[in-house]
């Protein structure tokens, strides 16, 4: 009876639970006691450069993992110390900063090697569905990753993560270097993905993107979560933006 009740309430369970996470590169501490929890929702982590946002991504995904203490639990499984490919197979999709496409592979080959069967939650992203989502990519199937425009590259990076059938999408600065019109399109896509039940952990410097997508906003400063606020509160409060995000050039 209680099992059935648990099964009908997936919303209540924490999907990603980061507890007391500290990370070090050599003796330099990059993350300090990061703690947050997210369910099947979208949250944004905002903050200036060098505040540990990408280190947090690396720690979750397990690539070039810094020496980490603490715990990252995804759907109950401990990710710290787990090899990257197993983390990905658990359902953590990664859209890295700078896209990191494979220069020797074509668009279609990117999707081919990443594609995997349907995941536990029944979502089944295939190459065909990615091409439906991004018709631009379908036109450029045979092109190499390096021959795409910035926006197309980002579509491919997202598509590559989607065909692994993730339950959560970790995106590191997806709007970086893209034209405003392209960013608009991306936000639409993200909202569409969210409606399909995909949780999104968005790491952004661009407040417009972060606040458009997620209501919960975590602010990172100096390797730790300094505050949690909401999109509306952050958007309406220039003082908050100045303090946390260093809109003023000399803010320190």
């Amino acid at each position: 009876m209680s099992e059935a009740a648990a099964a009908t309430e997936p919303q209540a369970a924490a999907l990603l639970e980061v507890t007391g996470l500290s990370a070090y590169y050599g003796s330099a501490q990059a993350l300090e006691d990061v703690t947050f929890t997210m369910g099947r929702e979208s949250i944004a982590i905002v903050g200036r450069n060098g505040m540990g946002k990408t280190t947090l991504c690396n720690a979750i995904i397990g690539i070039s993992p810094p020496r980490a203490e603490g715990s990252i639990r995804f759907d109950g499984e401990e990710l710290v110390g787990m090899p990257s490919h197993r983390i990905a197979r658990l359902g953590v999709g990664y859209v890295p900063q700078g896209r990191r496409l494979f220069p020797s592979l074509t668009v279609d080959q990117h999707l081919k090697i990443a594609a995997r069967g349907a995941s536990a939650n029944g979502s089944s992203w295939t190459r065909e569905r990615v091409y439906e989502l991004f018709p631009r990519l379908a036109e450029r199937k045979g092109n190499g990753g390096a021959e795409l425009s910035g926006g197309e590259q980002q579509m491919l990076a997202i598509g590559r993560a989607l065909v692994t059938n993730p339950r959560i999408l970790v995106m590191d600065e997806p709007s970086e270097g893209l034209a405003p019109a392209v960013i608009e399109g991306l936000i639409e896509t993200f909202k569409h993905l969210e409606e399909e039940g995909l949780a999104i952990l968005l790491i952004e410097q661009n407040l417009g993107v972060a606040t458009a997508l997620a209501e919960r906003q975590l602010v990172m400063i100096g390797g730790g979560i300094a505050a949690e606020t909401t999109a509306s509160a952050l958007a309406d409060d220039p003082e908050l933006q100045r303090r946390y995000l260093g809109v003023e050039p000399l803010a320190h």
Binding site: I63, R100, F102, S104, L105, I113, A161
Partner: protein, 376 residues
């Protein structure tokens, strides 16, 4: 400092012109400048064994074929070396030792299959008696390479110096063990063990000359087979890397190992496969090389060096680079042997190997990452 180096013109116009001039001179020398030897002996800087391409076109054509067929063999060995480096960033210093051991294994298997080696008439070896030793050597060395990677290298990933030292240690141990245990089957009166030179026999049907109907040139069929095998390996590797999913994963891994893992691919399995195939190619090359020339102690260092130079010229980790590097190396080597001046006993054809290093230096001066390499 960088300013000063640039001011010296390491990549400036003058060295470029000089290098281009030397290359043009070398080509002209082969085509027209070289002279046939004087009847009365002696000679000058223009005196070569056969004279220029105009004097003796059939020698020229033969030399081209010598270069290309040698390139076929170089490619088989170097492509395996390049595959391992490209994916795993491991400079496998034991590649030459794998070659040596593979060659002796193929030799021993062939001896057992054909009976005693002495008096073995090369024309009596049938295809099976070459193919089986070749396959057995490839499987043995592939598995051996895989064991080295799993047992020794896997725990030191990303530690380039350690991996280089480990593979050097493996190569020293293997080379010594080869001397202690090979060759086992030798003709009566010659020394057993001690790593002395032995030859594998090509299948009998290759032991003839083919009339090419061009300039009256007849050419060794076994050398043409060597070229065909090199081309077949190249084609097979190309199809594998470009048309299969495993190959795509390998290329993705060459581009970005971490990102490949982050889309859920177990890159360790791919590494193991690459090491297996790369090592097996060393044994493939050794069977071919041991058939064309011989297997003997010291060949390990020689073939490690060949592989290194070829992939440095072509660009580490690039299949096309290994092919182009092999062809350039093979041609320069063959032409240096045939066309360096012969002014007497002291000079100069024995210096042919020096020109292959000149080739490498030339490539490195203008493209430090190799012809097809990507900047690190």
């Amino acid at each position: 400092m960088a300013e000063r180096i640039r001011a010296w013109g390491v990549v400036g116009t003058v060295p470029r012109a000089l290098a281009a001039g030397l290359v043009v001179f070398a080509i002209l020398y082969v085509l027209v400048i070289a002279d046939p030897p004087d009847e009365f002996g002696g000679g000058n800087w223009r005196t070569t064994n056969t004279g220029s391409a105009l004097d003796d076109p059939s020698t020229f054509l033969t030399t081209v074929l010598d270069g290309l067929t040698f390139a076929g063999l170089l490619f088989i060995v170097a492509s395996g070396f390049s595959l391992i480096f490209g994916l795993m960033r491991v400079v496998n210093m034991a590649h030459g030792a794998f070659y040596l051991l593979g060659g002796y294994i193929a030799y021993e298997i062939q001896q057992r299959m054909t009976g005693s080696g002495f008096g073995l008439n090369p024309t009596e070896v049938n295809t099976l008696e070459w193919v089986v030793p070749w396959l057995v050597a490839m499987v043995c060395i592939g598995v051996f390479g895989l064991a080295v990677q799993q047992l020794l290298l896997r725990w030191n990933q990303g530690q380039d110096l350690r991996q280089a030292l480990i593979t050097i240690a493996v190569s020293v141990i293997v080379a010594d063990q080869v001397i202690a245990h090979f060759p086992r089957t030798v003709p009566a009166g010659t020394q057993q063990f001690g790593g002395n030179a032995v030859s594998i026999s090509w299948p009998g049907w290759t032991n003839r000359l083919v009339d090419l109907h061009v300039g009256g040139v007849t050419y060794s069929l076994s050398r043409l087979v060597m070229l065909a095998l090199g081309a077949a390996v190249g084609l097979a590797l190309f199809l594998w890397l470009h048309k299969t999913k495993t190959g795509m994963v390998i290329r993705a891994g060459v581009d970005d190992r971490q990102m490949t893992a982050a889309i859920g691919i177990n890159i360790q399995t791919t590494f193991a496969l690459a090491f297996l195939v790369g090592s097996a190619l060393a044994a493939f090359g050794a069977t071919v090389g041991g058939s064309q020339a011989s297997i003997a102690q010291g060949r390990d260092g020689e073939w490690l060096l060949f592989s290194l130079v070829v992939v440095i010229i072509g660009g580490m980790g690039s299949l096309a680079g290994a092919a182009v590097g092999s062809v350039l190396y093979g041609l320069v080597f063959a032409f240096a042997v045939a066309y360096l001046p012969t002014t007497g006993n002291e000079c100069c054809t024995q210096y042919s190997v020096v020109l292959t290093f000149a080739l490498m230096a030339l490539v490195l001066a203008f493209r430090p990452q190799g012809l097809f390499g990507r900047a690190a």
